[in-house]
Amino acid sequence: MPKPWNRRGGDRTARETQILGWLFVIPSLIAVAALVLYPMAHGWWQSMNSGGFLFGEKPGYVGLRNYRDVINDPVSREAMAHTLWYVLLAVSLELVLGILVAVTLHRVFRGRGFVLAVLILPWALPSVVSGVLWKRVFDPDNGLLNSLLMQLHVINQPHVWLAAGRGPIVYITLVHVWGVLPLVSLIFLAGLQSIPDEVYSASAVDGAGPWRQFRHITLPLLRPSMAIALTVGTLLAISIFDEIYVLNGTALNTRSILIQVYNTTFAQADFAHGTALAFLLAAITAVLGALYAIALRRSTV
């Protein structure tokens, strides 16, 4: 629908609008083209060529061979399995806790402003700093978690939290969730605020208690927020890096795909396989993103 002033101002204003429009987006477009799109194309080309000097072969086009290599590589596969665990654990914790936090903070009470301000602090801190703050908690020898559990007589001797088994992935996920939960809680809080009060008062007249209201009103009406939280949570967890790097370095038992990309590319100087693995992760991310977008559209209709 043309705006009235475009008509009234005649051709001069219309042309001015077109030119100004382009002038205004050109800086952003140049930045994105030069430092996101071009490196992406460069990386794609890199992932289709052989690793080069390290493997004693001439650089050249090898098609999808690097992709086959990383899919068949046991270490990369393990990193993919770990990443799946990070995503599943993080997203389920964030959804459950996020809804609990939002329901707790939805209604006005004294001190709510303070709690909301405190709530977003973990999100505002660098994830590296989150890792630093939690590191002493999980220290294998004299960590705070160990001494707390020993004082409560849950365990008899210090447990090496970050050393073996699936445990370490759980603790690192916890640190990750600490930083992401504020964002997810805010998404649910916004969702709750969009539910009209009348719906609750009407159901209260019908004799529904708090639990039934939660089951039959709150949860179904939060579905769009859940789709958004699921998307945000997945995107952040699938590219988990900082917390792992600080808490356990590039150790094999907690290695995510991105840590594996880092290790392949920079420790082993194998750009070809590193970028191939990165693009593989990007493809998975894109597929998940598309699925969530469809789910979101369904849940809002």
Binding site: G21, V36, M40, L116, L133, I228, V246
Partner: protein
């Protein structure tokens, strides 16, 4: 929901949220005021019996502390990394705000040809994971088409932050532009104001609360960024605090007081910013999701 049971449950939940959010920060502060000996004491001391600023003194003054746990700090290194982070956050955020405000106005108001496609392209790049780009970025920055290598320079990092964060800023401001009343600008245009003047005099002031929130979100993002500077910096010329702080994590043993002191100093600027602008930030995050 006013029965005593629910009220107690709610009180417990509120307390749990406060403890969960502040607990790790308080542990960090407590650790930073301890000595190595107090950290290792059995039974565990959650609060040091003899609080001391020794860790901060060592971290900033650069005392070699090998005896205590293998961390060597050099005078001025940590302060330099904080300075780098501050410059990177301020400069990147300024450019991002200028670019994103113009782009958001253009695609949200000007309705120029292909405006929708431009918005789709910008938002589309938000889905591109940074790690797909960061590996190749190294090569692109090391051999730019003109000029010397941009690796290990603050200028190079600023360029990367602009490119990776402008799309998000544009999207956040775009949602705000769409909700703003158009009447003030229309009135100015009818009075003979040019589009540019109307933008600078009327629209930008109208957007100011959104711009403030986005500025805060961008500063926090740049301050907290780790992977990009980890790969693109080598020396204290550009190394930000997030990368420097990992140097204090020992391979086998960690000097917890020094590490915690570094963490506390690195979290003060973002924490203050988040507390000062928390209503605007929460409003923007919740509103545009």
């Amino acid at each position: 929901m006013t029965s005593p049971g629910w009220r107690i449950a709610k009180l417990v939940a509120v307390l749990a949220i406060i403890v969960w959010s502040l607990g790790p920060i308080l542990i960090g502060v407590s650790t930073s005021l301890s000595t190595q000996r107090e950290v290792n004491a059995i039974p565990t001391r959650w609060v040091p019996h003899h609080p001391t600023l020794q860790a901060y003194h060592d971290l900033l003054g650069g005392t070699s502390n090998q005896r205590a746990g293998g961390t060597v700090t050099e005078a001025g290194t940590f302060t330099r990394s904080i300075y780098n982070s501050a410059i990177l956050s301020a400069v990147s955020t300024s450019f991002i705000l200028i670019f994103a405000t113009m782009a958001a106005y253009a695609v949200g108001r000007l309705r120029f040809r292909l405006g929708g496609a431009v918005l789709a392209l910008l938002v589309g790049t938000m889905i591109v994971p940074i790690f797909v780009v960061v590996v190749s970025l190294f090569k692109v920055l090391a051999e730019p088409p003109v000029g010397p290598s941009l690796i290990d320079t603050k200028g190079g990092l600023v360029l990367v932050f602009i490119a990776t964060l402008t799309p998000l800023a544009t999207w956040l401001l775009y949602t705000q532009v769409r909700e703003m009343p158009t009447e003030p600008e229309e009135a100015a245009l009818i009075d003979g104001c040019s589009r540019w003047k109307a933008f600078v005099r009327i629209v930008v002031p109208q957007m100011s609360s959104g711009i403030a929130a986005v500025a805060a979100i961008m500063m926090l993002s740049v301050w907290g960024e780790f992977l990009i500077p980890l790969l693109l910096t080598q020396t204290m010329n550009a190394k930000p605090v997030t990368v420097q702080i990992t140097e204090y994590v020992g391979k086998y043993t960690t000097n917890y007081p020094i590490l915690a002191a570094a963490g506390v100093l690195a979290l003060i600027p973002p924490a203050l910013l988040a507390l000062a602008l928390n209503k605007r930030i929460t409003g923007m995050l919740a509103g545009s999701s």
